[in-house]
Amino acid sequence: MDDWLTAATEGDPEAVEALYRRHAPAVFRLAASLLNDADDADEVTQDTFVYALRNLRRFDPARSAFQTWLFTIAISRCRNKRRRKWLDTVPLSRWLRSEPRREGQRLRIVEEWLTARGVRRDLWAAIQGLTPSLREALVLRFVGGLTYAEIGEAVGCGGRAAESRVRTAIGALRRQLAPQAESAPDWLEALAEARS
């Protein structure tokens, strides 16, 4: 267990803040990738740390890395958030002022960020289109950098099942993204011929 973690467990406020500042960005990125909503991701990040910092003594370094433990808590909070989204709510004050919904607005910044770094624009949307269990496994692997065993620990399945989910997710993305490049020109050609 690292020094900051030991000190934080003993109640050192400076160590608690250091733990937050070191790990919060990774938790936020994970939640943002899973929820596609920056406000929700902020909330999940806060909830995760409030729980983790109040329950530091429950963390068992022999069982998992600290970040994997945080991700496990964050995944659970993200699932709760998704469930509640079925009953969508709008604050009365916003409804009365007829303000437009802010949902997802800030995450366009993420799309722009990825596109500016050479990532296909439609990849983010395709990842959001995956089923929650595939998205969780894929994001934990490629954004969280977890091993398959750690992914299994975080999402509550075995390492082999985690690997299978990542593989299935890649297959699903390949099917979703590749046909656009391969078949669209033929389709457009046929349309152009029909019009001429």
């Binding site: 919060a24 990125r29 993420v110 692997r141 593989r167």
Partner: protein
């Protein structure tokens, strides 16, 4: 000719031809379709990995989040206990209401059966629809504090074409 089952291949096998199982490697060398599929999967995996790396460089402002977390961590324990107990009270009240409704609902069913055991009845917590001699009859059941039932039978006119 059996094509490569890409959905069953370990993901790492996509990284290089040398990592493919021998029979898959031999097949890919001769099959243009599987070569194209392998290339597409490699490209997708590389794209997702690149997106992950880019996302991990996304700057995140932790100052506002830390202020909120510190505020929540700093709440006096008494206030947290008070909030938790308020939540528990609300949950207890809701559970009580549900139990009471279930009890009254069961009682209304029993009353309908007592009124005419052989009479088919459809019951809800507030009313019972009894079918008697082809004349649907609405029976409203109520329970007083002493659980003395009041049974009112109201015939419903049946409209026939």
């Amino acid at each position: 000719m059996l094509h490569v089952a890409f959905d069953d291949l370990p993901l790492e096998a996509l990284a290089a031809d040398e990592l493919l199982p021998p029979e898959a490697r031999a097949h890919v060398a001769d099959c243009a379709d599987c070569r194209a599929e392998l290339a597409a999967r490699r490209e997708t995996a590389a794209m997702v990995a690149a997106a992950g790396r880019a996302l991990n460089r996304l700057p995140v402002n932790t100052a506002r989040g830390w202020a909120a977390v510190r505020r929540r961590l700093g709440e006096p324990i008494a206030l947290r206990v008070q909030r938790a107990s308020r939540r528990l009270s609300l949950q207890a009240a809701l559970s009580g209401a549900i139990v009471a409704m279930a009890f009254l609902s069961g009682m209304s069913l029993n009353l309908a059966r007592a009124a005419g055991p052989s009479v088919p009845a459809i019951q809800t917590p507030g009313a019972v629809l009894i079918i008697r001699d082809d004349t649907p009859t609405l029976a409203v059941t109520r329970a007083s504090a002493e659980f003395t039932p009041t049974l009112t039978l109201t015939p419903i006119p049946v409209v026939t074409n």
